[in-house]
């Protein structure tokens, strides 16, 4: 059994959330690797869209930003942002979106705007980009982030991207489509219960319930049939290392 890194596990696990006929809005880094891994394994027909407006991208090498030229070459189509966000995302033509953030709360609300007060921030983060629209308009979002108490507070300082807001009913009443489907961290995989609250579904090998509870800022729930997360297979590790990220840009640093 080949030793794998946390990042490789997250990539392989995120890829499992994708189905063959999905259309997905891809981000750089782990989401991009997860989508490309899914495309080369169980989801060859996965349609990859980037918020820069490239539709059906088929990158020949690892893109280093969502505006990388490799995403436009040999794409199905390249459209202005008004159309990518309007005709595709807002019109309900994108199934899955990937999100990350500096803070994520129990309802899957995400903050990527500021830590502290908006007008006098402790840390000024990049902001939404397309995240607010991705969270509002895809059928399901997959959140990928390292697990720590600071990153998973009881309440986010600013809602950049709405999750279940204050609960599943609340989101539906606001008229938002979809919602968070899974949260994949370096410790565990969470889904959302009937009320829209984050619940631990599986814990990664060598991680304990106590570790996860300690790294979460609220009293997080665990599923009654708690599983161990499936580690990446030999094939998945080989694909990531040899083809998807051969220079270890995103997968070389940890562990």
């Amino acid at each position: 059994m080949t030793a794998y890194t946390d990042t490789e596990l997250m990539i392989a696990r995120a890829a499992q959330e994708l189905e063959n006929d999905d259309t997905t809005l891809v981000g750089v880094g782990v989401p991009n690797l997860a989508c490309n891994l899914a495309k080369r394994t169980h989801a060859p027909d996965l349609e990859m869209i980037y918020e820069s407006g490239t539709i059906g991208s088929n990158p020949s090498r690892l893109p280093l930003s969502i505006g990388d030229p490799v995403l436009a070459t040999n794409a199905r189509s390249v459209v202005p942002m008004t159309k990518g966000f309007g005709y595709y995302l807002q019109a309900g033509r994108i199934d899955v979106g990937f999100l990350g953030g500096a803070q994520i709360d129990r309802w899957g609300n995400i903050n990527s705007t500021v830590i502290g007060d908006y007008d006098d921030p402790t840390v000024r983060l990049p902001g939404s980009g397309g995240a607010c629209e991705i969270a509002s308009n895809t059928d399901r979002t997959i959140i990928i982030a390292p697990h720590s108490r600071r990153r998973f507070p009881p309440e986010v300082d600013f809602v950049t991207s709405p999750g279940y807001v204050g609960g599943r009913d609340n989101r539906a009443e606001l008229g938002l489509r979809g919602g968070p489907e899974a949260v994949i961290t370096d410790m565990a995989v969470m889904h959302f219960d009937d009320d829209g609250e984050m619940t631990v579904d599986s814990i990664h090998p060598d991680v304990s319930k106590a570790d996860v509870a300690e790294a979460t800022g609220w009293d997080i729930q665990f599923a009654s049939d708690l599983d161990e997360t499936r580690p990446p297979t030999e094939d998945e590790i080989a694909l990531i290392r040899n083809e998807l990220d051969p220079d270890g840009v995103y997968t070389g640093g940890d562990d």
């Binding site: 750089v28 880094g29 918020e51 820069s52 407006g53 490239t54 280093l64 930003s65 969502i66 505006g67 990388d68 030229p69 995403l71 436009a72 070459t73 040999n74 390249v78 202005p80 942002m81 008004t82 966000f85 309007g86 995302l89 807002q90 609300n109 705007t113 908006y118 007008d119 921030p121 402790t122 840390v123 000024r124 990049p126 902001g127 939404s128 980009g129 397309g130 995240a131 607010c132 629209e133 509002s136 308009n137 600013f158 809602v159 950049t160 991207s161 709405p162 807001v165 609340n170 989101r171 606001l174 008229g175 938002l176």
Partner: protein, 305 residues
């Protein structure tokens, strides 16, 4: 009347202190040469507009050109923070910077409203987010029609005083062929009062007319045309040169302090008299490393009627 001019002329004739300026591009075709010329000419109090402020705005902020930024994602794409932008917001260095913040669709919808001369554009966003509480320009309005949407977010038009946009090629009338990622650039050009078009190469009018569907920016909205090869470096021009990703990684270190940032500006902006000297300073090998292999699109038959 469109005129072909040099970059220093185009900037001097188009921009005044205190104006709102859009420098185009979503990662692609960012007009670095124009931004550097703005720094060299010492403009102040500008409002910088773009969905993705990127390195050129970090440089302009560090140089003291800006007092406000209208944006939706202020990061070094694929790398991390925009450090000069953060220093201005968090610490007021080198000066205070006010922000007008949106999500991507909100920002591009504002430019679309500007381009179409509409009082507002609605979008399915912002519901349940913190943005309306912190930005009075984002408002909820009642749906005037009878269906399942009661309220929808709207944003007002955004009309930059000046837009500087780049394209791969244009004729001397400013009719520009664009390909690859165009982001919100075309909307911004149509929304702006004055448009400076900077291109990799000037071509005959016949080249443009042979493929009219590719003319995303018509000369009728362009005021000045500048031929500026490599004018987007370290950003890229699809089919001409790749993004200099090393430069984006290096910027993270260069911009670590205000002092190291201004040292870089002294050498690479103030220390050269224009893009030609900048390109020479980059050296041939670095530019050759950025050359893509060719991959021509199949010609179409427009028909002769």
């Amino acid at each position: 009347m469109t005129a072909v001019v040099d970059m220093d002329d185009a900037i001097a004739r188009s921009i005044e202190d205190g104006q709102s300026v859009y420098l185009g591009g979503f990662t692609h075709l960012i007009p670095f040469a124009a931004g550097h010329e703005i720094i060299r000419q010492g403009y102040q109090d500008l409002t910088l507009i773009r969905a993705t402020p990127d390195l050129i705005y970090d440089q302009m902020i560090a140089a003291g050109c800006a007092s406000a930024v209208t944006f939706s994602y202020a990061g070094n794409p694929g790398v991390g923070s925009l450090r000069a932008f953060r220093r201005a917001i968090e610490d007021g260095v080198p000066n205070e910077l006010s922000i007008d913040e949106y999500s991507h669709f909100g920002l591009v919808s504002r430019l679309e409203a500007g381009a179409k001369d509409l009082p507002f554009v609605p979008l399915r966003s912002y519901v349940g987010s913190g943005y309306p509480d912190h930005n009075d320009s984002i408002r909820m309005v009642a749906n005037p029609y009878d269906d399942d949407v009661d309220e929808i977010a709207v944003v007002p038009p955004l009309r930059p005083d000046v837009a500087v946009v780049r394209a791969q090629r244009a004729d001397d009338e400013g009719n520009a062929h664009l390909w690859g990622i165009t982001g919100e650039m075309v909307e911004a050009a149509f929304a702006a009062d004055t448009v400076v078009l900077s291109v990799e190469e000037l071509v005959d009018r016949d080249v443009i007319r042979s493929d009219p569907n590719r003319t995303a920016i018509p000369g009728t909205i362009v005021d000045h045309v500048v031929e500026e090869p490599y004018g987007s470096h370290p950003s890229y021009a699809q089919g001409y040169y790749d993004r200099d990703n090393v430069a984006y990684l290096e910027w993270d270190e260069i911009s670590e302090t205000h002092e190291s940032t201004t040292e870089w500006l002294s050498e690479w902006v103030h220390g050269v008299d224009g893009r030609r000297e900048y390109v020479a300073k980059l050296e041939t090998e670095r530019l050759l490393d950025l050359q893509p292999r060719t991959n021509f699109s199949t010609p179409i038959d427009m028909g002769e009627y």
